[in-house]
């Protein structure tokens, strides 16, 4: 047993050392074991010596680990074909092959995982800005098709699905049947798209139509999607629909409505004026017209400002922007703060 361990230790030595001396070291081990009266003790000592040697060779003798340079040999030329210098004895080390294999398998697994879960990410499609002048009576499906090519193509694909899942059927049909992953994903995408676009024609009275879904739409989402246990896709859809159902139970925020906050024309007139932000120069013109404020930023059309509070406003068609007027103690307006996505631009009144 000790001899086997000694052989193993010798095999673990660097290749060059092993080739030169391992045979002799094993021979010495055999001779010492056979000639010594206390063979067990002698073998144990030799085993310890082998371990020390192993550590010494790998830790302290890097200069002897390199293979001697192989002289390039010229292949014999035949029939006028030029010969090439080749390193005939070269071949990759075994450990390099093992490492390469492990690395390749890991990369392959990562690629498969990425493909498997790619659908789980939200697709940020470049939806064009929806104008409010869309006809309220327009068919959601036709408006969907007119707004974006991608949305239209997705919808047409879904409509032409051989299983016959038309969008209208999706809204009313019970999901208690065994769902298919592919169909479920299409349903999910279509419902998301409709959440974006169908809200446009039905919310003319409200600003920021894209982020305030209509009650009818929320009602559509408030269904429970039943799926067999273990279906991860269906579980996620169910959780999402439950969240939306909770959201639907919350009444629409009154702050967004123009009827909730009514400002006097005198106050609006105070806000009217020219505001200029520091470089890059942004010129903002605010006018009071017809009992409401209108804002015009450089290169943008005139938009109506809907009051959120006495000093805060929101522009129609710009849901991400918030405008706040700041006044001096004497009541004169000092500046206009434009907030968008966590960034603020301060425009000083001229």
């Amino acid at each position: 047993m000790l001899r086997s361990a000694y052989v193993l230790i010798l095999r673990l030595h660097p290749r060059r050392f092993r080739q030169d001396f391992a045979e002799e070291m094993l021979l010495i081990f055999d001779q010492v074991a056979s000639s010594s009266t206390k063979a067990m003790l002698a073998e144990t000592k030799l085993l310890g010596d082998g371990i020390v040697s192993l550590l010494r060779q790998w830790g302290l003798r890097p200069e002897f680990r390199r293979e001697p340079a192989v002289a390039a040999t010229l292949l014999p030329a035949g029939d006028g074909v030029p010969g090439f210098y080749t390193f005939g004895s070269f071949r990759p080390r075994a450990i390099a092959l093992v490492h390469g294999s492990i690395l390749s398998i890991a990369v392959l697994c990562l690629a498969f995982l990425a493909i498997r879960y790619a659908w789980n990410h939200t697709v940020n499609l470049p939806f064009p800005m929806v104008d409010r002048e869309v006809d309220a009576s327009a068919d959601p499906q036709s408006s969907l098709a007119s707004v974006g090519r991608i949305a239209g193509s997705a919808l047409s694909k879904l409509s032409s699905d051989p299983r016959g899942f038309l969008p209208s059927q999706i809204e009313t049909r019970s999901r208690s049947t065994a769902p298919d992953d592919k169909v479920s994903r299409k349903m999910q995408k279509t419902l998301d798209m409709q959440a974006h676009f169908s809200a446009v024609p039905t919310s003319l009275a409200r600003p920021s139509t894209a982020i305030a879904p209509s009650p009818q739409l929320l009602q559509r989402y408030s269904e429970i999607y039943v799926a067999p246990a273990g279906d991860r896709v269906s579980r996620k859809m169910q959780a999402a629909s439950e969240r939306r159902a909770d959201f639907a139970a919350v009444p629409s925020p009154p702050a967004r409505s123009s009827a909730a906050v009514t400002l006097s024309p005198q106050l609006l007139q105070r806000y009217a004026g020219i505001y200029v932000a520091p470089p890059p120069v942004l010129r903002v013109r605010v006018i009071a017209k017809g009992g409401e404020l209108q804002i015009e930023m450089a290169g943008q059309p005139m938009r109506t400002l809907q009051p959120v509070s006495e000093t805060k406003f929101q522009a129609a068609g710009l849901p991400d922007y918030q405008f706040e007027f700041q006044t001096n103690p004497d009541g004169t307006v000092r500046q206009l703060n434009i907030d968008q996505g966590g960034q603020r631009v301060v425009a000083v009144r001229q």
């Binding site: 050392f17 030169d20 001396f21 045979e23 002799e24 070291m25 021979l27 010495i28 081990f29 001779q31 000592k45 030799l46 010596d49 082998g50 020390v52 040697s53 192993l54 010494r56 060779q57 003798r61 002897f64």
Partner: protein, 141 residues
């Protein structure tokens, strides 16, 4: 026949070459001094005759009267260095009754010079040590 002038030049050149070789050898030898105990014992064991690894181990134990024992790992680690520095050269395998796995090693001329230089250095050390360790003679009053 060479003329005396040519002969003189030839002898002078030969002496120069020998002198240069001697200088180079001396500089090279100085690189290895002092030797480690293991290296010294291995070179010393090979000074008399060619030996294989186990023979070197036994000879080292004999020379040191059992006080210094080399294990195979230490022996072949030092042999590897000595072969690399050309202080020792392999002789090959011997035919006959010997185990064919045995390889013999021989002291090279450079190894011999290094061993001689190291022994000379040790002699100086021993001489100096004897002088220092002598009991101090009492001074006359």
């Amino acid at each position: 026949m060479l003329c005396p002038a040519a002969l003189r030049i030839l002898v002078a050149n030969s002496l120069d070459i020998r002198y240069i070789g001697f200088r180079l050898m001396k500089e090279k030898v100085a690189e290895f001094i002092p030797l480690s105990p293991a290296t010294l014992h291995i070179l010393l064991s090979l000074a008399g005759e060619d030996r294989h690894g186990y023979g070197i181990m036994l000879e080292v134990a004999r020379q040191s009267e059992g006080q210094y024992k080399l294990g195979p790992g230490t022996l072949y680690d030092n042999l590897q260095k000595l072969l690399d520095r050309q202080l020792v050269q392999p002789v090959g395998r011997r035919a006959g009754d010997d185990d064919p796995r045995r390889r013999y090693y021989r002291l090279s001329p450079l190894g011999h010079a290094v061993l001689s230089a190291e022994v000379g250095r040790l002699e100086d050390v021993v001489r100096e040590a004897k002088v220092r360790l002598q009991p101090a003679k009492p001074r006359r009053a």
